[in-house]
Amino acid sequence: MKRLHWVDYGLVIGFLALAGALTAASPVFLTWSNLMNVARQVSINGLLAAGETFVVLSAGIDISVGSTMALAGAVVAGVGLAHGFALGGLAALLVGTAVGLANGLFVVRFRVPAFIATLAMLGIARGATLIYTQGRPISGLPESFLFIGNGWLGPVPFPVVLMLATYAAAHVTLRYTAFGRYVYAVGGNARAARYAGIHTEKVLYAVYAIAGFLAAVGGIVLTSRLASADPQAGVGIELDAIAAVVLGGASLFGGEGSVLRTLLGALILGVLNNGMNLLNVSPFYQEVIKGAVILFAVVVGNWRPRSQGQFKTGG
């Protein structure tokens, strides 16, 4: 995947420029404690974005990840309080995966456009969460469960370890397993993939299941981090997850992108939020500045020698 070279390079420059500016502007930015702080804040969107990367690579889109996360977060708390958190976690992961498989079912079997199928699921999972929680946060979770979201492994927060492990696994899966290679094939040209004997349907089921599963992991981390399950958790977070993926250079048209660059995308978004808070930028101006910085980072990141990819538009 040589062609992606410049994208890589550019985005790293954009990221470093941003980090450099923040280091200059705030004395605390480049401290270990703040960096870990940012990493922990990124971890939840990072988990969702990792799953979203699979879907986007397959030329799909999943906008239900935020709701799925909330549902799984409620399930881990509810089931956990009733039957213990091992079971709670398992139940949450199962629910997340099931939601993903349902998305896959509608996309594959009933040929519902992914945007619509997952939009419907966004509503269904959110409704299910509200019904399950009666619209109230589930709190009173035991200290032991809070480790997942708040604990440290040595100098690194546990959610960060979890996120990094997920990215490592996702990267290896996408690059070194047959399934991973099939994801690119299906996303690049579903027809040619089918002609090459790839079971495109199975691949699609799998990518949505992975997105659902990782959304559930995110939900568990979030519930643990907040020591409560918020039925309104993750409203609108799908935009952040997709933004991380696309910022990382993946094409919404499928077949192009890398999960490591998604991580970079998620980090850029996280650093941006952190920087705004550190610099105490007025909330009214934050959105403007964030938008401007994202554009700047991408424009810098896009710079490359002439005559490449000149037909790329949209997407």
Binding site: A178, A185, G188, N189, A192, A193, I198, G255, P305
Partner: protein
């Protein structure tokens, strides 16, 4: 003064120096052929002439005036018309709209729908074909799409008509019609640049031929004074001996039996056998249902009837399921589709990925692809097929057409098929590579692979096949042996009772 004068044009892509100083000139009213191996730089040169890409250096003069096209629009306005090698239709627009897209007739703000259709119909009539004007271009078959691409270039007043392998997916009749139109245009002073890998077409149509090799002009010859051998020698830098190989595979036991087979509703009632080491040709006109037959045999579309294969180990016949291509591959069937861009390749992925898609499992160790082993195999295969690519990690999209075809072929050789279905395998492939492919077919059959060959190039079909099945409107109309098969006979069988 020449109509077109190209002087010392250079073009580089990352990792590839595609044009290294190309020069040639042509006159108005001349039909000028460009020949060269796959990847020689023909399409790149034509894209520069049409304003689709800027040259890095060099000069282009049209009617003696230097031109610097920065957008295809400018070339279009200067009277340059192009049939691109790449798919250049808008799938969602109608056939008529596609044909006149470059200058949609308007009345004020409005597109003049009536004139769109009448102009498009005129262009199609010029070509002697009848296509549904209002059908979206995306719904047509490859051959019909190609006709639309040609009609697109014939519409309007051309000064210079550029055709990049326009005949690759056409039937003999369509090619004849096209040539007639091209000659008429030339007679009216239009300059024509014609790219084809079919030497006999070039010899028949062109006045002069310029040969490109490795991005350089080797020379320009007068067709009347040149022999085909001479052209080929200049192209590939050496003489090509025997074009078609001598068939000498030993035909063995029957491997495949097909009974009452069909791809409803297009094809019905096929019964035939296929033997080890045999090349079975499928002849037929466009629309006869050859591709459908192949697709059904490969599990790509629902089929009727039964397919049996001989189980090697247990020496017994086994009815094979064909629910998906996976089933077919598992049974040892490979399929090289006729449309490599849409069905054969994932264009955005690398040579490596494309070549190992059906066989990735082979490189797994503990669930992970051993990339080193994979790379070695792919490199070996690419070398054997002489695929011209900067590396096996190069994106297939950037390879020249012929080299793309070799990648698809390589993919199927990887599975070591017992039955290999080749649908127009030499479409868009240069002479040298064609000979390579013929040699490959020869080698495979020697090792016992049975081949089903679909080709619209009848001489090729005749030379390679041990036996021919002729399809007409989805029915098997004849089975003829190698000895009885002649060009005239096959053509007659194909077209009997089929209205022109």
């Amino acid at each position: 003064m020449s109509l077109l004068q190209v002087t010392d044009v250079h073009k580089r892509f990352p990792g590839v120096h595609a044009l290294k100083g190309v020069s040639f000139a042509m006159e108005a009213g001349e039909i000028h052929a460009l020949m060269g191996e796959n990847g020689a730089g023909k399409s790149t040169l034509l894209r520069i002439l049409s304003g689709a890409e800027p040259p890095d250096a060099g000069e282009i003069r049209l009617d003696g005036r230097p031109v610097h096209f920065t957008h295809p629009r400018q070339a279009h306005e200067a009277g340059v018309r192009v049939i691109y090698q790449e798919f250049s239709l808008i799938p969602g627009l109608s056939v008529a709209e596609n044909i006149v897209l470059a200058d949609l007739p308007r009345r004020g703000w409005w597109v003049d729908g009536r004139r769109v259709r009448s102009l498009a119909r005129a262009a199609l009539e010029r070509l002697g074909v009848d296509l549904p004007l209002d059908t979206p271009a995306g719904q047509l078959g490859v051959a019909q799409q190609q006709l639309v691409e040609i009609a697109k270039a014939l519409h309007g007043e051309a000064r210079l008509l550029i055709m990049d392998e326009p005949t690759a997916s056409l039937t003999a009749q369509e090619i004849r019609n096209l040539f007639q139109v091209v000659r008429q245009l030339a007679a009216h002073g239009v300059g024509v640049i014609f790219v084809s890998h079919r030497l006999e077409e070039v010899m028949e149509l062109a006045d002069r031929v310029t040969v490109l090799r490795d991005g350089e002009t080797v020379g320009t010859l007068r067709v009347k004074e040149a022999s085909p051998e001479e052209v080929v020698r200049r192209m590939v830098g050496r003489a090509i001996g025997e074009f078609y190989p001598q068939r000498r595979a030993r035909i063995g036991r029957t491997v495949l039996r097909v009974e009452g087979f069909g791809a409803p509703p297009v094809v019905t009632g096929l019964t035939f056998e296929l033997r080890e080491g045999e090349v079975l040709g499928l002849a037929g006109l466009v629309g006869a249902g050859r591709t459908e037959t192949a697709e059904a045999l490969f599990g790509l579309r629902p089929h009727a009837g039964a397919v049996w294969m001989r189980d090697i180990a247990r020496e017994e016949w086994r009815r094979i399921p064909l629910r998906s291509p996976r089933d077919a591959i598992q049974a040892g069937i490979g399929y090289l589709p006729e449309d490599r861009k849409q069905s054969g390749l994932v264009l955005r992925l690398a040579v490596r990925d494309n070549m190992t898609h059906p066989t990735l499992e082979r490189y797994l160790a503990a669930g992970f692809v051993r990339r080193g082993k994979e790379a070695a195999a792919v490199r070996e295969r690419a070398r054997a097929l002489a695929v011209r690519t900067p590396s096996i990690d190069a994106v297939v999209e950037n390879l020249s057409g012929g080299n793309q075809q070799k990648v698809v072929l390589g993919k199927w050789l990887e599975i070591s098929p017992r039955v290999l279905i080749l649908d127009e395998p030499t479409r868009g492939v240069d002479v040298g590579a064609k000979v390579e492919i013929y040699r490959l077919i020869q080698e495979m059959t020697e090792q016992g692979t049975a081949v089903i060959l679909i080709s619209s190039d009848i001489p090729e079909l005749l030379a390679l096949s041990d036996r021919l099945l002729v399809l007409r409107r989805g029915r098997l109309v004849a089975e003829i042996g190698r000895e009885e098969a002649t060009h005239e006979r096959v053509l007659a069988l194909c077209s009997q009772g089929v209205g022109a």
